[in-house]
Symmetry: C2
């Protein structure tokens, strides 16, 4: 398997586009409507937010994907179409407008939104923009689509890989966006994947659920699980491989590659968390089970106090151990080792649950680097897990103290 | 029942003191050691953090309180004595030093600590300070004790009430401290209560658990449950009342008064949350059960995004509904009404799960007031609950980016 370029258009048979139509009223330079179109009918799978309050486009998409087939993805940024007047009607109008212009069935459109909750979607603006959007579709349009789904994101998030399945080159690629209201136990924020692999919708659903578990569900920016999270994948089958069977090497290879794409996109979401100065990786080893390791790691990357300490490049490891303590996992605090690592080095700060004397200037230097790892070892077993997050900064507060305007 | 002054010394038979001994090395003006002494042997009860990682003084206190009796409370700020070398030994040395100077048994001393995790307690400094601490005990020493347990707290937290039990005036009073690492599902941070009521330790334990449930466990500052939380109460019995029975009007009156003291102290903890600009009350009505109402209210006051919106005086109610959605409670999003209230007025922002047009300048004015209420009504039943929190600010990040120095 190798990393390739092309994002959501890397796989054979996918065009994409992204333009400004005016959902984002305050900035005409910012794209706000994205479209992904497959050349042929696709097997499709998706996972959604577990928030009880679900945005209208998710409800429409769930209905549209009941048959496991889709042709296009339409997504706007700037308005979440959640808890808003005429939510489902407007999501359906968006699908219908795109479907009409594309000459496909409205039920073959996946629709998603991201932005402010509770305000009516300006669906007329979307309808009016559809012709231009469709005319700008291209096989190298991934950048445009990736930027059109951004809200407070600072970076585009794209990733793609190529692997071999039954002697054929198969590609999986995708785009995603963060960057606030991000927390484990969800689908994700918006992430759209494509592949040219021949694979059935039920198998893909199974593999997507597993890939989500080990990627987007191991990321947290701020502990708030969004109403709008959706991760979906379209498979065109144009790679010409023998369709993947329910078990065997092909299944494992495709599932592994899908996991890689999801992990890399998830890491980009965490690294570009709202206002973030640091990308934090928390690696737990020696846990009794993967579930325990994940719960411990998630508690650490979600701890506001730990995030604030990393912001300040302060090796306050007591907050790491404290977060582990309220994670719900039972462990022996006398068997915990903690270290901080980055490109600037490594410093062991806690051994067997007790503080070690350590080189404070070195620790400060290590934690001043943007990408830092919190390395935790227990004595409870052989399981491990890695989760990803970011620090909390003045900028996060600023962004979210005045988000609607 | 009436509100009275005197804090932890309001009840008959309690002296208190607080001085600087040097645990807080960076500020000789800040008191860091508190002592509460009862004139006679007391029935005692306590609740502790549910964090798996428990600070050493809590383990020692649990052991000392096995007999349900105590005479004194010794507490230091500036060092948590958690995950630190010689933790239990040093907590026991602190008890022994106080006991020796007071002429009581070491097992009758409740010991607690608050401050940085993972650093060795400078127990010699505490031992050296005990004589001066004991000599400064007085019946009006509550202020000194309350200030000696403060860390990043800006205000002293004291409260006391007087009620009548079997024809006798009975008093309950206490002191508490916050202000970071505060989150529901815990004992609390440090809170020490006294009463002159005649009441057994087992009954008091029962009433204390219930009072905790409706007070400290309904507060959140930052979602981090501390390793050091403890709430305890000493009952001298000097009020001369007939000892409270397991059921009846006296039990109800005392339990109610105890609940009031805990609620008032808990509200002070939330209002003085680290860096807070706003005190947030979230009132939920119309829920199917008190548990549901509490889970919904806690999710809202714990939501980082909601806290950031209140910081910015931004009526971003979508975040309130989003937090309710991931609270774990099942409800109908189409039956939710939300309003913001303060001394500046009230604005209804969401009706039946949909956004209402509202007066933005009025909303801004309402949310600019320090004390704001988020008023939520569902259509699921008749249960309700109120929880308390605070906003998240630049100052919170600043405090916690550089806490250890």
């Amino acid at each position: 398997m190798k990393n390739i370029t092309g994002g959501v258009c890397a796989a054979k048979g996918f065009k994409a586009a992204g333009i400004h139509v005016g959902v984002k009223t305050n900035n005409a330079d910012k794209k706000d409507l994205a479209l992904i179109l497959a050349d042929c009918d696709c097997a499709a799978a998706a996972v959604y937010t577990k928030n009880v309050v679900k945005a209208a486009p998710l409800l429409v998409t769930m209905d549209n994907l009941k048959d496991g087939r889709a042709r296009a993805v339409l997504a706007n940024s700037g308005n979440a179409n959640a808890c808003a007047a005429d939510g489902e009607a407007n999501a359906m109008r968006s699908c219908a407008a795109a479907a009409k212009e594309l000459g496909i069935a409205p039920g073959d459109v996946i629709v998603a939104s991201t932005g402010v909750i509770g305000q009516r979607l300006p669906v007329e603006v979307i309808e009016n923009g559809i012709p231009e959007l469709v005319s700008s579709l291209s096989y190298d349009g991934s950048d445009n689509a990736a930027s059109a789904i951004m809200t407070t994101d600072l970076t585009m998030k794209q990733y793609a890989v190529e692997l071999e399945i039954s002697g054929k080159a198969v590609r999986i690629g995708g785009i995603a966006k963060g960057s606030g209201m991000i927390h484990p136990n969800m689908g994700t924020m918006l992430a759209f994947l494509t592949t040219d692999c021949a694979v059935s919708a039920p198998l893909m659903q199974e593999m997507l659920a597993e890939a989500t578990r080990i990627s987007f569900n191991r990321v947290s920016v701020d502990g708030d699980t969004s109403t709008n999270d959706i991760l979906c994948i379209l498979a065109s089958g144009l790679a010409g491989n023998v369709e993947i069977a329910a078990q065997g090497a092909d299944y494992d290879a495709f599932a592994g590659a899908l996991g890689t794409v999801c992990v890399e996109l998830a890491k980009m979401v965490a690294a570009d968390g709202e206002g973030a100065n640091h990308f934090i990786t928390c690696a737990v080893a020696g846990a009794a089970s993967e579930e325990d390791a994940e719960a411990l790691s998630k508690a650490v990357i979600s701890s506001t106090l730990t995030k604030a300490a990393i912001f300040g490049a302060d090796a306050n490891w007591g907050r790491v151990l404290c977060a582990m303590g309220y994670s719900g996992v039972v462990f022996d605090q006398d068997c915990v080792d903690i270290a901080f690592e980055s490109a600037a080095g490594r410093v062991d700060v806690c051994k067997s649950g007790r503080g070690l004397p350590f080189d404070e200037p070195l620790a400060k230097k290590i934690l001043t680097v943007r990408d830092v790892t919190i390395d935790i070892t227990l004595d409870s077993g052989t399981a491990g897990c890695v989760c990803w997050g970011c620090d909390i900064t003045y900028e996060y507060i600023k962004i979210n103290g005045d988000y609607r305007t």
